[in-house]
């Protein structure tokens, strides 16, 4: 029998529905789990126990009046780059340490409306720039499966929270793998939706043509419930798409009979981690045994994804982060006049990885280098998107590993940005092409670390990803395992 904090969101929702548990009881269970294990994990920048208990009491009152809903009274966590009205939103940066948003992000407003209870704001690599959550100004998050290892990043706090039982799911954001890679390293499920599927209004912008908000949870069904609540058009985000959102929960039982799965030959190469390769191949075999048809596909420009990503994402970041000037919000250093004040503010407010990326992006956009770097990267992005369009002409879903290795040691890659960037080698192409992808657990290494399977879908075909992921999940017991902390 699972302890209350270990339940999946779907199980907890059933207990709320039958009134076996109240939201206040669920919230207290999550908060006492946080109190017990958070000192070891450090998943949160801010825990809002008082706000959570108040919201839980309100949700119980709504339910008593006859309201229902899977998220009514559900305690969850939010990545600390999602604006929450009245609750500090730091982006794990000294720059925004005191910042209290005067408005809610659209996803936050939607979840609030659905009655979700926010336990707090989770740690991330500063401004979502990183793959290990080591770049936080407020300390490193530890992987619940092995506290000496990173949880991945940048949504490492949300992944660790979901894995450790700090609530029943979380939201993250994904620019180059920041939901999927930590989900993989922490043994949970994470979905990066199609670009335009979820409103980005109120998500502190990193790279606007790549960023998406998505769910992180302990089961595929849990992720489907969260997606159902946050997806859809929003007039406040001009890149959000007005398109009907299908019933994801209904998709969960569809199975994979006749589903065509492509294995991109460029993603299965010599020298890759043998345990990761074996687990992913076994997962694909398992889907084949359930009736899926597997064939090889090719994404010929794969080797260029990393370069394209690090030129485009940093260029967009250099522009987006220009707003942090110490005038309207956030940190300010003092100087006699404006330009020196801006330069000191940014020098003291940003950490090293953020500065490195702003400088790279500024260079890629600067006069004389724009054509060679930024424009050329945009052209190669077209080729990468065409690769996916070509592959999806013959298959419904593409299967790859989510991350090249299981969780690495804290500090192991901290001094070498390029090696760290390689952690995202299997995830960044998805953001460049704008398509959706889900990561779910598909095994454990001999040392007990989770391994993730990535399933990539056609644009706006999240439903097929949920169907395939649920079919795989149902045939294995990975989702029932919990880290011992």
């Amino acid at each position: 029998m699972s302890q209350t904090h270990e339940l999946t969101l779907t199980q907890a929702a059933a207990k709320l529905q039958t009134k076996e548990l109240s939201s206040v009881e669920l919230t207290k269970a999550a908060l006492s789990r946080i109190e017990a294990a958070e000192p070891k994990v450090h998943a949160f920048v801010t825990v809002d126990a008082e706000g959570a208990l108040k919201a839980a009491a309100e949700a119980d009152a709504r339910r008593a009046k006859g309201e229902t809903g899977a998220l009514l009274g559900m305690p969850i966590a939010l990545k600390d780059n999602l604006s929450t009205r009245g609750l500090r939103t730091t982006c794990s940066s000294k720059m925004l340490e005191p910042y209290v948003p005067p408005f809610d992000a659209t996803v936050v407003a939607k979840l609030r409306g659905a009655g979700a209870v926010f336990l707090g704001k989770t740690n991330l690599d500063e401004f979502a720039m990183g793959s290990s959550t080591e770049n936080s100004a407020f300390g490193v998050t530890h992987n619940p499966w092995d506290l000496d290892r990173v949880p991945g990043g940048s949504s490492g706090g949300s992944a660790a929270a979901a894995a450790a039982g700090f609530g029943f799911g979380a939201l993250g954001s994904d620019t180059g793998g920041s939901i999927r890679q930590p989900a993989s390293l922490c043994g949970i499920v994470g979905l990066k939706p199609t670009y335009g599927r979820v409103s980005r209004y109120g998500l502190v912008a990193f790279a606007s043509s790549l960023d998406q908000i998505g769910p992180m949870a302990r089961s595929v069904g849990d992720a489907a419930v969260l997606s159902q609540a946050i997806d859809g058009h929003d007039a406040m985000d001009s890149t959000s798409v007005d398109r009907a959102v299908p019933d994801y929960t209904a998709a969960l039982s569809k199975g994979v009979k006749g589903l065509r799965i492509g294995l991109p030959k460029e993603y299965f190469v010599d020298g890759m981690d043998p345990e990761v390769a074996a687990a992913v191949k076994a997962a694909v075999k398992s889907l084949e045994a359930q009736g899926a048809v597997v064939k090889e596909v090719s994404l010929p420009h794969t080797e260029h994804c990393l370069s394209v990503y690090y030129l485009l994402a940093t260029a967009e970041a250099s522009s987006n982060l220009a707003r942090f000037d110490g005038v309207r919000y956030g940190y300010r250093a003092l100087a006699e006049s404006l330009v020196p004040q801006t330069m000191k503010t940014r020098a003291q407010g940003f950490g090293p990885e953020v500065k490195r990326r702003i400088m790279l992006g500024t260079y890629a956009l600067s006069s004389g280098y724009y054509d060679a770097y930024y424009k050329r990267a945009q052209q190669v992005r077209t080729l990468i998107a065409q690769d996916f369009a070509g592959a999806f002409a013959g298959v419904n879903v593409i299967a790859t590993p989510t991350a090249p290795t299981p969780a690495f040691k804290i500090g192991e890659k901290a001094d070498d940005p390029l090696t760290m960037y390689l952690s995202d080698i299997f995830t960044i192409s998805v953001n460049l092409a704008g398509v959706p992808a889900i990561s779910l657990p598909c095994g454990f290494s001999k040392t007990g670390l989770p391994i993730g399977l990535q399933l990539i879908g056609k644009a706006f075909d999240e439903a097929t990803l949920f169907a395939a992921a649920a079919a795989y999940e149902g045939a294995h017991d990975w989702k029932d395992r919990r880290p011992k902390i």
């Binding site: 043509s209 260029h304 940014r346 190669v380 704008g434």
Partner: protein, 95 residues
């Protein structure tokens, strides 16, 4: 085209980042390593390829010209490091 220390200094100024001489050297080394890796895209023939700024086929998004409630002045100023008379306050910008 390796970045010189002077170029690093120039880029830092464009990005409005004050950097120390020690940082200048470190960023020069790290940025050059990343840019060297990024040379792989220079091999591709992209002369006939349109750039992708953004993956969706959306061009302009219009809305009707109607007044909607926004942040109040007080809310907009609520995070200001320094304010005066309902405005953001900054040091002098002209010599």
């Amino acid at each position: 085209m390796a970045l010189t220390e002077q170029e690093v200094e120039k880029v830092a100024f464009l990005a409005r980042l004050e950097i120390t001489p020690e940082e200048r050297g470190r960023y020069q080394k790290q940025l050059n390593a990343i840019l060297e890796h990024a040379q792989d895209i220079s091999r591709l023939d992209v002369s006939k390829v349109e750039p992708t700024a953004h993956i969706l086929p959306i061009q302009n998004v219009w809305r009707t010209d109607e007044v909607h409630p926004g942040l109040s002045r007080e809310e907009a100023l609520s995070n200001a490091p320094d304010k005066s008379k309902g405005c953001f306050r900054v040091p002098k910008i002209l010599e």
